[in-house]
Every structure is written in structure tokens, then in C-alpha cells.
């Protein structure tokens, strides 16, 4: 065993040795003409007076230099009068002229964002080393953004990223598309990485059709240091098969040495639905339409006029809904159910406490946060407690151990959401007849005389249970070792993520869906365990202008999930909610799935004089989703950049701070399909006469493999006038091949489809950002930034069916066909109402010249709108004057369409709106007599079937004022007197204003459905640092 270098030579001797080596080298390679050569030494420190190892000390005219050692010391041979330049990544260069002194202490100041460090997946890159379009959002940008799920922070902040929530219910999951879709059947969702560990972000909520609960609801916004969105292939190719949808890297705040710093951030807010939404008919309006319907349907046949309708109704009261007979006698009342189920100014509160500090050898960060949000609909609220504890131990000079732990406790009192449920208050808002009373004379809930199939939402909110509780612990242990080989570092990480979700539901015995069962109850429990191991070997070498870094990474992920549910019914009393009290077990079920992923990655970064940069990544990965023979895949990315601002011909131009040209190409994969798809399988879940049955389950495919997604990107990044003006323009183009397609099979096979790798999809877009610090003075700043991004896709090839015909994937209202973009709206086209008869007419062909009254004869016509936006824009403004700052952000998304569902129940001119449920007050504009021009058909007293047509297809373009925050920072003198180091108070408005292009659209443009819409809120809070 040899003695280590550092043990043999004392510090001083080591430096001496190095100096001699360089001196010799210098003597051989360069002509030392100066007469008075001497050796000078010194130390390079940063602005915190911490020594900087690896800083470059360069004799300017001679282009030779040394690096500082671990203690920031250097020793170099110079002549008096030489100019020596000291530089270090992230700091401003500093130079000094050699004079009589022999020792120098150089303190470097951090540079402006020109040398911003961007956190990538497995390491960091400086801005000049980037060869792609990663976008970093820092904690200053985030602040304490009042969201319940941290992915929502990104909405509108990143060009090319489109986010929309699944529901306004607090804690709900969101959908994210980065640069549009690259797949039809595999997932288009990005991969989330927290502190280097890829995590599974999904809906944790159990219970059928109940509110969703996102994994990201377990992360506090105030614990986040930065979020980096990786969009290009050099960055995402490190994630191999999971990178094709982009990668969102969340970096949490870590421990730091220093005096113990405490931060408290607390706020209180009020929320309402962001959009008022459609207004339903009042009872008298509905009655008017009802009688219209009677007249239109029976008037001619039974020989009565419009005025005679009421008499006809009373004469034949046995055949009709008698509710209007008594309505007049009861004072012509109307019940505003929309008002009853809405919680106005739903309160929310959030308090976060964190502390950080410690010595060099042991430092920590701990935080705890509590959030409670009430939804804008009755019967729903959300609570979370999130805590973190990070510790870092410096075991020795070479060895650092850190442990990062996070726990979260979530509780979601949700509601039935994903469809129209008679037991959901959101459905009641739109479907409940205004003639149904909410309260009895004595003030109790009217549950016996509602005269409808819906249940009383207020009663159910009080007496039914729909509760999801989640508990999760994530713990990461890291050991970082600076090996004896210089600049070679090994980091090993073990991460364990355990979570358990419980779900309880209870339908009461008195009123609602549980009546037939005498009350029913159910419990579900799911447990997941994700275990990740990473070993990261990094090597860096800086020789003069050449800077080289290499990382070799090994990663193994083991994920498993088990689930059980049990339902029972038959309670003999109210107020009992658990399975033990139910007489009659109804069913049990349980399952287990697991998955494995292992990968080996190599990543290199090379730059010359920070001018020319080359990044290369290669990943070899295997995933258990695919059959053995096709399990392994190779993924790679290559990027180059030319930092023109460092070229001599540009350096002369004063105002150009950065002019970077970059291009990259790479290939990632997509394995986002259901597990066990490749296996031809038999299922054991059926049961008959008390015995278990066996049935074919999956068709299987022995050749199933990854989708491949190859992208090219070129871009230009410019910073001028010391960031007074900056901009990006990026063009990307990608192609998905071996696209996983669910190829439809004839249903006679007993399978509806088989997954095959067929199909090609092209996508491309442009991202342009322009901004700048327009005013940058001591007491005033003004920053403005706008970005525009486009995205379009085209299906190049789809599978062919059994007889060689190209398959068309046609859904209820969309289609996917070769030569067109994904998910084009495809439905019959409405030509309005026939002025003579008041019935609907449709276009009979694509040219839209002929019309027909028969729905079945009208063809489906493709719209030029698709489901996804093709154009997005955002605008960001930050103004600061002395102690006050105002920031605002607005987003735009457009080019897409949105189709209103449930129109049959609320929009059509038939009994559903006038008799059985309720209708939207736009129905009042209906056709009444020949010659009327309107697009609302005449009311008829019958029940129409579902009609899918573009009458309810809207242009979904919208602009939303996403965020506006006013902050006041107290003066330091004032604050210090109170023993604080800084204090701020703020008022923040989220989603305060929304503009919709299509004013026929009465719903929130982010999604149309009966789910809780997005909310707008106002929050007041304070932030204090001790």
C-alpha cells in the first residue's frame, strides 16, 4: 500500500513540487525572455473568503498558467510587470500586475447571470457550457407560490411547456406537455427528477372517479431551490427510455454552512372559481321552455294554441311532470343550486418554517410546512404537512456524507369528479332542476321531494365520506468521495421512497346512492416502494484552455406497488362508517405490480477556452416493460455550441455579453406503457358460482420495444448591454419511430387491440424569447420578458390492418389519420336551425354547401383544430422601486379547440333541459316561430339521443393573468432592530383575469367538464428571515 501523495508531502512541499514541475515545463516550452523572473505565490478566495480550488492563474501574454490547489493556493513564475489573470467559473475575472510583492491574495466576485449554473439531471453545467435549451426557474421566481401541487408553478414560465390541471380541486394532478406530443399510446408526460432521483409522479388518489391527488402535492414550493426543464435531446438522452417527453428536474434546498438562518413564510388566501361559468335556467325560464316544448310537440296534433298550452297541461296532468301545477301556488319559487354548492372566498392558509446552517463539518437544513385549502365547492378540502431534514457531514477532506429526507402527510376530502354523477355537487349545479327545493319548511334538507334522479348535494356533503389519506417518506443517502486520483470523484446514492395511501368511502343509508344498500362503505389501501441506486463517477481536467469533464453513471431502479380494496353494505344505524359495522361484504380485490429499470450512462463535456463546447451523452438501458429479447436500448445525444462572445472579433464589440450559437441531436425512448403488455397472458379475476374463472387477458407481443424519438435543435442565445436586452430563438424538429400503436383487431378475436411498434410521427416548433432589464438602477429596476412558442405535429405513418388498409384511429370526437396532426376534432358539422321548422340542420359534405336534417346522413368532417395548442405565449414583468416590487405574468395558449361534453343534458332543446334536469340559459334564444333565425333549435317534448357536432366545439384560445404579486421589503435598519435579517410582506393574485377568444364558450378554457374548474385566488402573506 503506497502512502498517499498528500501524506508524504506537506502542503508547502506539494506546492513547491508543482511549482518546480511547471517551472521546468515553462522553461522547456516557452522562451523566458524576461530577465527578472521570480516565483510568486498567493491564495485565491471567493467573496465569502472561502478558498477556491481549481481557479486558473494565467500569465496573460504568455498564455501559461497554473491551477490553485485544494486550499486555493498557487505559485507561479513571473516577471515584474506581467499581467496575471485569475479566473474561476461563476466569478468575474480579476487581474493584477506583478510588482515588488511576492504574495498576493486575490478575492473573486461572483459574476452576473452570464455564468449562471444550470442544474441538469446528473450534474450541473454553466451557461456557457450548455449546448441546448434547458430553462431554469429559481426560488426567487417561485417564492411561495400558492399551489397545492408544485408542477403548477411552471405554468406559463417555460416556453414550449403547456400545463393544464385535471381539476381545480386542491391537490389535483396536472397534465404537462413539453414541446407537444411525441406519442399516441405511450405516455407524453415528462419525467420528474427530484434531487437526481427519477420519481413516479401519478395520481395517488384511490377510489373510482374520485378527486385526484398528485404525488407533487407532497413537495413544498418553499423547499425548492430551482426547477430545470430539459427539452433538448442532449439533456434528455441521459434519461434514455424515459426522456422523450422532456424532463423536469426539481432541485430542493440543501443544507449550507454558516450562521443558522431561519425563515418563516406564511400566508392566508381566498379563492373562487376563475370563471363564473354558465348560468342555468331559473324555474320560470325553464317553465316557459317546458310549455314551449309541449306546444311544439302536441299543439298541432291536439289542436291547441300557444296560449292554450297551460290548459292542455292541466287537463292531461297525469301524463306530465306535475311540478309546474303547484309551482304557481307555491309562489313561483326558484332554487339557485349553483349558489348552494359553491363556497365563496374559500379560505386557504399556508405556513412554512425552515432553518439552515452549521459548521463546515456538519450542516443541516430542516423545514416543516402546513397547508390547508378549502375547495370552491362544498364537501371538499385539502390539508398537507410536509417536512424535510437534510444533513451533511464532512467526514474528512475527501469524504462527504449527506442524507436528505422528506416526509409528507396529505389528506384530501374529495368528491366524485370524472363524469356526471348524480351524487356529485358539481353535477347538481348543472343538472338539478330549479324547481327542486333545497330546504323544507322547518329548514331541514329536502331529501324526499326533489322530483329528480339527482341527490341532495348538501345532504351528501354532510353525510357521505370520500377521503384519501397519504403518507410518504423519501430518504436519500449520498456518499461523495474525492478519490486519490485527482479530480476523480465518486458519488453513491441510495434512495428509498415509501408511500401508503388509504381511501375511505361511505354512502349513507338515508339518502343517496347508498339507500338501496342500507348504506355502503369501502376501503382501499395502496402501498408503493421505489428503491433507486446510483453510482456516479466524475472526472474533470482543466489544462490551459481545454476543459474536460466526464461522468459515468450506473443506475438501478426497483419499483413496486400493491393494492387492496374491500366493500361492504348493510348498516343497521347511522353514524357507523367502517367495514366492521357493515353486515354484508360485497367484494374484495387486490393486486401487485413491479418494475425494474437499469441503465449505464456516459456523459462528457468538453470546452475549449469556453468558446467551443461539445457535449456527448450515451445511455444503455433496460426496462422490464419489454420482453427479454428487446429489453435493452441505446440512447444518445450530441450537442455543440459556439460562444461567439469570447471570439476576439466579437470581444471588441462592447455591448455583446453573450452570443451563443448551438445545435444538438439525440435519440431518446419512450417506455410509458402499461406494464406486462408484452406478455400474452391469462387473467384470473373472473368468478362464477363462487369459483374462479380463467380468461385470456393480453394478446401480447414478443417483439415489443421502445418507441424511438430523435430530435434536432438549433438555437441562438443573445445577451446585450449587460443584460439590458436578451433573447433566444430556438428551432426544434423531432421524429418518433417505432411508435407504439394499439393496432385495432377485429373484435371476433376477443381482443380489441394489440400493441405493436409501427408508426411515425413528426413534430417541430419554434421558441422565441425576448426580454431585458430595461432599467437597472440602485433604487429602481424594470425587467420585461416575453416569449412565444409554436408546436405542430403530423402523423407520417400509421399501422395497417389485416388487409393492408391504413388504420384510422377514430374516437368519439377526434381522429388520428396519416398526413394530419394528432387528435383532430372530427364530427358532424352544424349548419344551424332551419328557419321554417326550427329543427337542426347539418352540413351534408365537406364543402359545406348542401345541408341535411338527418343526423345519420351527415358525414363527420375534420376540423382544422386539434386538442393541443399550437401557439403559446407569455409575458412577464417585474418592477421594483425602493422597497416595493411588483411582478406579473400572463399566459396565452391557442390554436386548439375544446369540445363541450354533457351538452345533451344541459344544452339541447329537449326534455333533459326542461323536464328531467336543467338547462343553460342560452336556451332562451330558441326558435319559436317560422322565420326566426337562431342557432338554438325549437324545444320539443321528447328525449334526443347523444348528438356529437361542432355546435359545441369552440376555439379554445385564451389569455390568463396568471400571477401578480406586490411585495414590500422592510428596510434593513428597521428589520435588524427587531432582530431579523430581512422581512417582506406580499399580496399575490393568481388567475385574476381570464380572456376567452370564443365567447360562445361559457366554461373555463383550461378544460370543459363537470369537474371543479381552476380557481382564482388572492393571498396575503409575510416572509421573515432571522
Amino acid at each position: 500500500m503506497h502512502k498517499r501523495f498528500s501524506n508524504v508531502y506537506s502542503r508547502k512541499n506539494k506546492v513547491f513540487l508543482l511549482a518546480h514541475v511547471f517551472f521546468l515545463w515553462g522553461g522547456v516550452c516557452f522562451n523566458i525572455t524576461h530577465a527578472q523572473v521570480k516565483t510568486v505565490s498567493g491564495t485565491v478566495l471567493d467573496d465569502q473568503e472561502v478558498p477556491l480550488p481549481g481557479a486558473t492563474v494565467l500569465v496573460q501574454d504568455e498564455n501559461r498558467g497554473v491551477s490553485t490547489d485544494f486550499d486555493g493556493n498557487f505559485s507561479i513564475d513571473v516577471s515584474v510587470g506581467d499581467v496575471v489573470v485569475v479566473s474561476y467559473v461563476g466569478f468575474e475575472n480579476q487581474s493584477f500586475t506583478v510588482d515588488q510583492r511576492d504574495t498576493y491574495t486575490i478575492t473573486l466576485q461572483p459574476s452576473s447571470e452570464l455564468e449562471e449554473v444550470v442544474v441538469m439531471g446528473y450534474g450541473t453545467l454553466t451557461r456557457s457550457e450548455l449546448t441546448g435549451s434547458a430553462v431554469q426557474v429559481t426560488s426567487e421566481d417561485i417564492g411561495n407560490f400558492p399551489v397545492t401541487s408544485v408542477d403548477q408553478i411552471l405554468q406559463g414560465k417555460v416556453p414550449g411547456l403547456y400545463l393544464w390541471g385535471n381539476s381545480g380541486t386542491p391537490g389535483a394532478t396536472s397534465n404537462v406537455l413539453i414541446r407537444g406530443r411525441s406519442s399516441i399510446n405511450a405516455s407524453n408526460a415528462p419525467l420528474y427528477v427530484i434531487d437526481g432521483i427519477p420519481i413516479n409522479v401519478r395520481n395517488l388518489g384511490l377510489g373510482n372517479n374520485s378527486s385526484s391527488l398528485s404525488t407533487l402535492a407532497g413537495v413544498n414550493a418553499t423547499d425548492i431551490e430551482s426547477i430545470t426543464v430539459l427539452k433538448d435531446a442532449t439533456a434528455t438522452s441521459q434519461y434514455g427510455s424515459r426522456g422523450s417527453g422532456g424532463v423536469i428536474v426539481i432541485n430542493t434546498k440543501k443544507s449550507a454552512q454558516g450562521k443558522i438562518a431561519i425563515n418563516i413564510d406564511a400566508n392566508y388566501g381566498w379563492s373562487n372559481d376563475a370563471i363564473e361559468g354558465p348560468v342555468m335556467l331559473t324555474a320560470s325560464e325553464r317553465r316557459e321552455l317546458y310549455f314551449d316544448g309541449l306546444f311544439n310537440t302536441f299543439g298541432d296534433r291536439n289542436g291547441f294554441t300557444r296560449e292554450g298550452t297551460e290548459q292542455f297541461y292541466l287537463n292531461n296532468i297525469r301524463s306530465f311532470n306535475p311540478v309546474y301545477k303547484n309551482w304557481a301556488e307555491q309562489g313561483e319559487y326558484t332554487e339557485d343550486w349553483a349558489d348552494l354548492i359553491t363556497v365563496d372566498n374559500a379560505p386557504s392558509q399556508n405556513i412554512n418554517l425552515s432553518a439552515r446552517g452549521g459548521s463546515e463539518s456538519l450542516n443541516f437544513r430542516a423545514s416543516i410546512g402546513y397547508q390547508s385549502v378549502e375547495a370552491t365547492v362544498i364537501g371538499s378540502d385539502f390539508e398537507s404537512i410536509n417536512g424535510t431534514l437534510n444533513l451533511r457531514f464532512k467526514l474528512s477532506d475527501k469524504l462527504t456524507f449527506s442524507t436528505d429526507n422528506r416526509f409528507t402527510v396529505l389528506e384530501l376530502d374529495g368528491l366524485l369528479e370524472n363524469s356526471a354523477y348524480f351524487a356529485s355537487p358539481r353535477t347538481a349545479k348543472y343538472f338539478m332542476p330549479p324547481t327542486s327545493r333545497a330546504f323544507n319548511e322547518d329548514g331541514s334538507y329536502n331529501i324526499n321531494d326533489l322530483n329528480t334522479n339527482l341527490f341532495h348535494p348538501l345532504y351528501l356533503a354532510e353525510n357521505d365520506i370520500d377521503l384519501n389519506q397519504h403518507f410518504q417518506i423519501t430518504s436519500q443517502q449520498r456518499l461523495k468521495w474525492q478519490t486519490p486520483i485527482e479530480n476523480l470523484e465518486l458519488e453513491s446514492v441510495i434512495s428509498v421512497d415509501h408511500g401508503r395511501t388509504w381511501y375511505r368511502t361511505y354512502d349513507n343509508r338515508v339518502h343517496g346512492g347508498g339507500v338501496g344498500d342500507q348504506g355502503n362503505t369501502g376501503t382501499e389501501s395502496a402501498h408503493f416502494a421505489d428503491f433507486t441506486i446510483q453510482n456516479i463517477l466524475t472526472y474533470s481536467k482543466r489544462v490551459d484552455q481545454h476543459n474536460f469533464r466526464l461522468a459515468a453513471i450506473q443506475e438501478f431502479i426497483d419499483t413496486s406497488r400493491s393494492w387492496v380494496e374491500s366493500y361492504a353494505k348493510g348498516f343497521s344505524a347511522d353514524g357507523l362508517y367502517y367495514l366492521n359495522s357493515a353486515a354484508d361484504p360485497v367484494g374484495v380485490a387486490g393486486s401487485f405490480t413491479d418494475g425494474y429499470n437499469t441503465s449505464y450512462k456516459v456523459s462528457t463535456n468538453y470546452s475549449y477556452d469556453e468558446k467551443y463546447v461539445l457535449n456527448l451523452n450515451y445511455t444503455r438501458e433496460a426496462d422490464s416493460r419489454f420482453p427479454k429479447d428487446t429489453r435493452w436500448g441505446d440512447f444518445f445525444g450530441a450537442g455543440i455550441a459556439w460562444n461567439l462572445e469570447r471570439e476576439s472579433f466579437i470581444q471588441n464589440i462592447d455591448y455583446i455579453d453573450r452570443l451563443k450559437l448551438f445545435a444538438n441531436y439525440g435519440q431518446t425512448g419512450n417506455a410509458g406503457i402499461n406494464r406486462n403488455t408484452y406478455q400474452a397472458s391469462l387473467g384470473f379475476g373472473s368468478s362464477y358460482a363462487g369459483t374462479a374463472g380463467i380468461l385470456p387477458a393480453g394478446f401480447g407481443n414478443d417483439n415489443l420495444t421502445w418507441e424511438k424519438f430523435a430530435t434536432t435543435e438549433i438555437g441562438l442565445n443573445v445577451v446585450l448591454f449587460r443584460n439590458s436586452l436578451n433573447g433566444d430563438i430556438i428551432y426544434y424538429s423531432g421524429q418518433t419511430t417505432d411508435m407504439l400503436q394499439s393496432v385495432p383487431l377485429s373484435r371476433t378475436t376477443s381482443f380489441s387491440s394489440q400493441n405493436q411498434n409501427i408508426g411515425v410521427l413528426n413534430s417541430s416548433g419554434l421558441e422565441i424569447t425576448i426580454g431585458g432589464d430595461l432599467i437597472k438602477r440602485d433604487d429602481m429596476i424594470l425587467t420585461l420578458r416575453g416569449s412565444v412558442s409554436t408546436n405542430q405535429n403530423e402523423v407520417k405513418e400509421l399501422a395497417k390492418d389485416g388487409s393492408g388498409e391504413t388504420v384510422e384511429i377514430i374516437d368519439g370526437d377526434t381522429r388520428i389519420v396519416e398526413g394530419e396532426p394528432l387528435y383532430q376534432y372530427y364530427m358532424r358539422s352544424y349548419a344551424g336551425v332551419d328557419p321554417e321548422t326550427g329543427v337542426k340542420i347539418y352540413y351534408a359534405d365537406e364543402t359545406k354547401t348542401e345541408t341535411t336534417k338527418v343526423y345519420g346522413q351527415a358525414p363527420r368532417i375534420a376540423s382544422d383544430m386539434t386538442v393541443d395548442p399550437t401557439l403559446q405565449a407569455s409575458l412577464f414583468l417585474n418592477v421594483g422601486y425602493k422597497n416595493i416590487s411588483l411582478s406579473a405574468q400572463a399566459n396565452y395558449a391557442g390554436g386548439h379547440g375544446e369540445y363541450e361534453p354533457w351538452s345533451r343534458y344541459t344544452r339541447e332543446s329537449h326534455r333533459f333541459s326542461t323536464d328531467l334536469f336543467n338547462g343553460i340559459n342560452a336556451l332562451m334564444d330558441r326558435w319559436q316561430k317560422p322565420g326566426d333565425i337562431t342557432d338554438v333549435p325549437k324545444i320539443q317534448h321528447l328525449n334526443e339521443p347523444w348528438t356529437t357536432y361542432d355546435r359545441f366545439l369552440y376555439e379554445a384560445d385564451f389569455i390568463r393573468l396568471r400571477d401578480i404579486t406586490l411585495t414590500y421589503s422592510f428596510n434593513n435598519e428597521l428589520v435588524n432592530k427587531a432582530g431579523l435579517s430581512s422581512a417582506q410582506i406580499y399580496v399575490r393574485g393568481v388567475n385574476l383575469y381570464t380572456w376567452k377568444k370564443d365567447d360562445r364558450n361559457l366554461w373555463d378554457p383550461e378544460f370543459l367538464n363537470l369537474r371543479t374548474p381552476p380557481t382564482k385566488s388572492i393571498v396575503v402573506g409575510f416572509n421573515v428571515n432571522l
Binding site: 467526514l395 322530483n451 437499469t598 433496460a622 380463467i694 401480447g700 385495432p744 383487431l745 373484435r747
Partner: protein, 455 residues
Amino acid sequence: MKKKSIYLIHLLLTSILVISCSSEDLEPTLATIKGADSIKTEADIQGVLIGAVDILTSSNWYGRDFIIEDEIRGTTVFANGNSGRFENPARYAYIADNGLGVWATAYDAIAPTNIIINSDFSEIDGSQENMQSIVGQAHFVRAIAHFDLLRNYGQQHLGGNLGIPIVTEFKGEELSPARNTVEEVKGAIYADLETAYNTISANATSKQFPSRLAAKALESRVALYFGEWSRAAAAAKLVIDSGKFSVLAADAYVSSWEGTNAANSIFELAFSATDNRGINGLAYIYRGCNYGDVEVLPSVQNLYEASDVRLGVLGDETCSSDVKLVNKAKWPKTDSQDDNVVVLRIEEVILNYAEALLEQGQTSAAILELNKITSKRGASAYTSVTKQDILNERRKELIFEGFQFFDYQRTRLAIPVTPGHNNQTEISSTDHRRIFPIPTYELESNANMVQNDGY
């Protein structure tokens, strides 16, 4: 020293972890499903048969839809729109886009029967005798599936000759089969039923699984449907003469629907408290205030004599302030929805026999058969009988069980307008709407499929 050992341990751990993963470690666990090659014992074969029979209980098939879609297109019930269900078939407004329905479900049942029928029994452990009986039962299920598909989608009674694809192989060569002719399908059904009768063991007497006599009973139904009277008569006679089943007594009639394994049941589908179609079942659609969409037309009461016990099947029900006439007795348990569904019973076989006899000119024998039923129903006996009498008696006896529309179909009679029904135009014997369209999904995934005329 301590530091060095930490380094060594670190290196060691790292290298172990780095080299430890091979492809085998990446095999996922199949916890709730198994590979398709795992049928190795008699119990596995039995399991597949259970799976196939279970599919008959689907909501799309005998769990509800197949029966209701027949009834709603007749003259007994109408769709009152309470939850919007069954209005399309009621108004003869069914279109190809309306979903797969029993097309998918029946083929889902045929697939496992093919797994059984085509198994290599030399490779499977167990009693060859028992397994042959199971194979016979599989033939029965395959026959009833092809028959029900043919009744819904085949052109036999509209003057066309296209039937439905006959599928006899699981994941076979032809994954996009064309429609076989009606004659071919009929032949395949008869062949399956004959094999069933010949191979199902005499010991397979459970009414909840296919038995030998169930195969004959079904054969009488199929033959009657195609007007093959002597075949129908022979099959029916075999079942009746076995003496294994008896017509329900008058006082037991209404209550028998609540039980299981009644004396008149030949083949019934088992449901239980933990295995039933719930809100998507027959009880929930025939009555109740949430669904209860299928309401009885008032004129139905006039079908029965006052003393007929079958009047007890009808009843009144009040929802809010509405009173409606409903099916009260058949599948009565609205709250637990766990009544068994009888698919074949002796009374239908007797009616099949009577009609076959009448068509062959044996009128007095026909009257004798009919009176076996009327005598147990509190109805007057027949002294003379016409074809219409038999159709009426079928309607009275088999009401709500999914027979009337198919009787109209096979007799090619026009369906008259009934006051109160959703459909107010007469459906002539050549109206293309008397059969369902081939579902759009099938047309789009199978290039060899041809749609029915008029759709």
C-alpha cells in the same frame, strides 16, 4: 486507517452494485396474470370453462342488455327516459356508432371455448373423461354465442344471406374473418350442439353449467328460429320426455323467480351477493326510481285472464308522485340484484314443441302441450289453437325474458304501433332496422367485414 476502510467499503459496494444487474433481474412479477402457456391440468381447463360461462352473465348479454333490447323493440315495454337508457333500440334509432355491445361480449366467450376445444389433452394432467365433458360444455357455450350473434346481426329473416363470422380458433390464422353465410353459421351451431349433447357427461347435472339436456333445449330454440319444425319437435320431445324438469305450479310461479335451481330451470346463470351486475342488472332497469327505465305499457294487463297467476308478475310502483306499471316478479331483488337468470326452462321448450307440432299439422298434440302450461297458470285451457294463439301464449309466459322481438323476427310479422311506446311507426317485415348494424369498431378494424343494408 478508518478513512481507508471507508473508501474500500465504498468501492466494494459500488462495484457490487454496478455488476449485479443482469437481464434476468429485470423480469417483472406476474402477480395477477399468468403466461398464456400455463394451462396444464384439468383444473385449469375447468377454470377456462368457468371463465367462458361467466361471460354470459355480462351486463351486455344475459346480465341485462340482450334481454332488454329484445323486449324494448317489442310491444310490451317502453323506455321512460328516467336515466336515458335503451331509448335508441326502443325508437329503432340504433346506429353503428352506438358501441360494440354483445358483438364484443359473445366473441369474448367464444375465445376461451376455443382454447378448451383445441387443447392437446395428451399434454394435460387429469381425467380424460371429465375433460371431454368439459369440452362438450365448451361447445354449448360456443353455440349459444354464435346463435345470439346471429339473431342480433344476421340477415336471415330480412332476405339476406350474410351471417356472422364463425370463429373456431383462438389467435388463429385469420384474425380478420369475413362474415359466414347464414347457412354456414346455422350448421356450425347445430354441429356444436350435437357435440355438446354427445360428450357432456350425464353426471353434469348442475343447472348452472351446460348439461346434455340444455344442449337439446337450445337446439329446439334454434330450430324453431329457423322454422325447422321436425328438428325442433324432436329436440324438445327429448327434453320433455326425460322427466327431469317440471312446469312450475301456479302458486309457486311468482315466488319461484326469487329462488335458484327451480324445478323448471334447465340452464340458469348464477349471481350472488358478491357477484352480480348491480345497477347494471335486470332488477335495476325493470324497477326502482333511479334507473327503472323499462316500464310496462298499460295494455299488457289486458293480455291475461283475471285468474291468471301470471298477472302477479306485473305491479305498480311509485316514484315521487308518478305511478308506473313495472315487472315486479322476474328478478325481483332490486336491492341486492342477485337473482339468477334462467336462460332455458321447460316451459319454453314445451311452447317450442307445441308450435313445431302445430306447424307439422299435429294440432291436437299441440293443444295438449299448451294445456300443460295453462293448467298450471290459472288460465283457461285451449280447445283449438292457431299460430297466433301460440305466439300469444309465448308472450304471456315468457314476458320480460327476451323472446317477443325474436318471435316477430322469425315469423316475419310487422311490429305494430302500441300507444305509449317510444316508436310510433309500424316496423314492416323488411325494415332494415329489425337487425342491428355491425358496430363501427368492427368495420374499422376488420377490412373483410360488411355492414348490414340500410346502415
